[in-house]
Symmetry: C2
Subunit: 249 residues, 2 copies
């Protein structure tokens, strides 16, 4: 077990931060680490917007469903899938890159590129003794987020990353059994085994909530997730993405 | 600069590996690290298939465009966006989760979840002295990859990750200027600045190839990328993804 693996395994989401901003040096290190991630065919299909402006942070907190830690943290990053610069380069060279840029394949590439970069940023931040929380809530209201941050077409904010000095450390949440997520040579489709793994995990999660809440909460994982999925959220996304000239063909 | 940041900044893709398999302990550590990544609303929307079978690895190398290092490495992982287990859980609880699972939003969530997990795996592997290479070529022929690995609906192999002991170390490729990728408070849309940053980077990359190939290659980044984007590749993706009951609404 080395420091890198210890850092990675020690991850938990932090939602309470001290009122202490990151230094410019910390921010640069985190961004440089993001950029060091692999990128599909060297396409580098992402941008990162760091938000320091207090009014904008307050507004972002509202737009993400009143999450206080979007406003109160050491720094707030917005990770964006970005095929805008590729649009510009295509225009400049007068080459038709539109079918590629509008393809589902390149949409996927941009999402993957952005996420690999973000996870490097997250791990780098954690290695500096900082805590992080991914903010998917940024997708609640992308039109307004784009307007607030002056974001052009073919750039989609995917999530925020709140970073800062932790003022309250939470527990780590147990993950699905390794053998349920990791398959060898083919995808395991023995349904008895599949269900028994999920059952075992459901019980583990129920015990976890039970212990954490003094018996007030005992959700099983599969019930929690199915309940979440029963609600239809962010169903505007398809139209929004296509309006932004991505994932069209 | 700590060990974590050093590891992250030291990344380069490795395409030549020694003939030495990873141990089961190494594989388990890498998968455990993948699972430690953040996951959107605790959804855990991915699976990982480790391929040991020699015939399957050989076939995968063919399917990814004859990339030798897909066959010859220490271990080959296939990272899959996975909303299959959520389908099963919904059916078992007789709740209608179909609109959610078919949404563009949940497709994005699955891609992001998978990529965050994969990057943890990559960094963990590199910290163990191993080299890695992401294999996007797996998306050349997803129908056949799915058949080969017995992968159900709503599970999409996104990329492979070849891992092993490096037998040849490549150079690190310079990334876009930090100030081009990282914006403060809003997306920089001063086009003169935008172009000048790209020009500067184009020259850097041209010099990089020049030095690496003894003057035989001097591509500028923007030309390389626009040339790549002028070709329409993997245009079957939209139909394929929707046939797999994802990204439909």
């Amino acid at each position: 077990m080395n420091d890198v693996i210890t850092t990675i395994l020690n991850h938990r989401s932090i939602r309470h931060f001290e009122d202490k901003p990151l230094t410019d040096e910390q921010i640069e290190t985190i961004v440089a680490c993001a950029q060091a991630a692999a990128t599909s065919s060297f396409i580098q299909a992402y941008s990162i917007i760091g938000v320091k402006d207090k009014e904008k942070k307050k507004r972002l907190a509202e737009l993400t469903g009143n999450q206080e830690y979007v406003e109160k943290n050491g720094h707030f990053f917005v990770f964006c899938a970005d095929l805008y610069r590729h649009t510009i380069m295509g225009e400049k060279q007068q080459k038709n890159v539109t079918p590629s840029l509008e393809s589902t394949e390149k949409f996927m590439v941009a999402l993957i590129d952005t996420s690999l970069a973000a996870q490097n940023a997250a791990i780098a931040a954690e290695s500096l003794g900082l805590g992080i929380c991914y903010i998917g809530g940024i997708r609640n209201n992308l039109e307004m987020v784009k307007e607030l941050l002056n974001i052009p077409d073919r750039v989609i904010p995917l999530f925020g990353l709140a970073v800062g000095y932790p003022s309250h450390i939470t527990d780590k949440k147990p993950r699905l059994p390794l053998e349920h997520v990791y398959h060898e040579d083919e995808y395991e489709q023995d349904m008895d085994l599949y269900y028994s793994q999920l059952d075992k995990y459901d019980q583990l999660i129920s015990n976890y909530y039970d212990a954490r809440t003094n018996g007030q909460r005992k959700d099983r994982w599969s019930e929690q997730i199915v309940s979440m999925l029963s609600k239809q959220t962010r169903m505007y996304m398809k139209e929004f993405i296509q309006k932004n000239k991505l994932d069209i063909r």
